[in-house]
Symmetry: C2
Subunit: 79 residues, 2 copies
């Protein structure tokens, strides 16, 4: 099973990577960009065919290792 | 307009972050995971209402700054 995880900085949390990218885009002439947020896109290959169980396990993986729930939001998508 | 960009390492390119995460997941008992790939999830806020034009501009931003097309694949999604 392929599972995608989308992690982004929580609203209001400092995002220095995003700020740097915004500045760089503006200096390249992309003036229409008003905000940039940089997070992580993780894909997993997981054995088994129970999608609900897989989603539950991957949520646990996010909470314990892959994301930092204090400063990041994440979304899990089983494909 | 909100635009999402999903960047992942190309097939066959070394992904040391993914390898490290895979090892850590296995040591935590998540033995069902067989592969981990770590990329970036970028969201942009862009002024304007022409979605096709925005997608074209964001593709240019990816090629010039946000992604490394030599070792990374990316996908742009206008919301």
């Amino acid at each position: 099973m392929k599972i995608s995880i989308y992690i982004s900085p929580k609203e209001g949390v400092l995002d220095p990577q995003g700020q740097a990218a915004l500045g760089a885009l503006k200096s390249l002439g992309f003036d229409e960009v008003t905000a940039v947020h940089i997070g992580r896109y993780i894909t997993l290959e997981v054995e088994g065919d129970d999608a609900a169980k897989a989603e539950e396990r991957v949520t646990e993986m996010c909470d314990r290792l892959l994301a930092n729930p204090i400063i990041e939001d994440y979304r899990v998508n089983v494909e």
